[in-house]
């Protein structure tokens, strides 16, 4: 199970979960398995898990989210591309988080801040009618011995 990935064409793993909190663990576990398949380091796998969980949580906590969240993991050589989509109706992009002082500490936007920090590339599109479409890319940097 832990053999090096040799394919050059992308392989896709897709998962659709109910947009409810108890299913987020399944989404992050699925992403972790794909990241492990690509031989990400343990720290990188944890980064991917958290980024996926934050993306799912952001959907769930946002008013007007859809019934399902779709997770697509695209495994390329040394690159993981993760897409998280929901079918809800949204009016604004997620708030951007930043490093906080106590007086301004707030949770809003912290999730997207973590995603941007932990992943190498992040883009998202929030469509009022078609929901959120978040794409994150993580590249392998440290292979385990």
């Amino acid at each position: 199970m832990n053999q090096a990935v040799e394919q050059t064409a992308p392989e896709f793993v897709e998962l659709r979960i109910p947009a409810r909190a108890q299913w987020v663990a399944l989404a992050r576990l699925a992403a972790a398995v794909v990241a492990n398949h690509l031989h990400f380091s343990i720290e990188e796998i944890e980064d991917v898990k958290l980024a996926v969980a934050e993306a799912c949580a952001a959907v769930i906590q946002h008013d007007g989210h859809g019934e399902f969240i779709s997770l697509t993991c695209e495994a390329l050589p040394d690159v993981l591309r993760v897409r998280v989509r929901d079918s809800g109706r949204h009016s604004a992009a997620p708030a951007e988080g930043r490093r906080m002082n106590f007086d301004e500490a707030r949770v809003a936007g912290l999730g997207i801040f973590l995603i941007r920090t932990l992943m190498d590339e992040v883009s998202y599109d929030v469509h009022p009618q078609h929901g959120t479409d978040l794409v994150m890319v993580k590249r392998v940097t440290g292979r385990p011995e």
Partner: protein, 114 residues
């Protein structure tokens, strides 16, 4: 997946909240309830032990921030016990290392309570 919450009284008019498991969007309400219940009872000095926490996300961080804000309104404090490097990394990149006292042992966290 679950979070186990163990609350116990400690010397020095403080309480220890020991967490075991994963703190995420699903489990964080249970942690919030435990901390909120203590604060409602007038406990304003808390040590939250994260040694057995394997994972925390922004909703978990939000619960800790919320607890800290509430106790500080009463002159209290919250110290954390955390030895997990990945979780320490999350506190570091979010800047929360500057607002929480983070210690490697429960004893050190209790001694440092204001």
């Amino acid at each position: 997946m679950d979070i186990k919450v163990n609350v116990r009284e400690a010397p020095g008019d403080c309480y220890v909240v020991e967490l075991n498991g994963e703190i995420d969007v699903y489990t964080s309400p249970k942690v919030k309830d435990a901390i909120g219940t203590l604060i409602d009872r007038g406990v304003y000095h808390l040590v939250i032990n994260l040694e057995k926490v394997r994972y925390i996300d922004s909703t978990g961080l939000g619960v800790l921030i919320g607890g800290l804000k509430r106790v500080r309104e009463h002159g209290g404090s919250v110290n954390l016990v955390c030895t997990n490097l990945q979780i320490k990394k999350i506190f570091d990149i979010t800047g929360l290392v500057k607002i929480f006292g983070i210690f490697d042992s429960e004893d050190a966290a209790m001694k440092a309570l204001v």
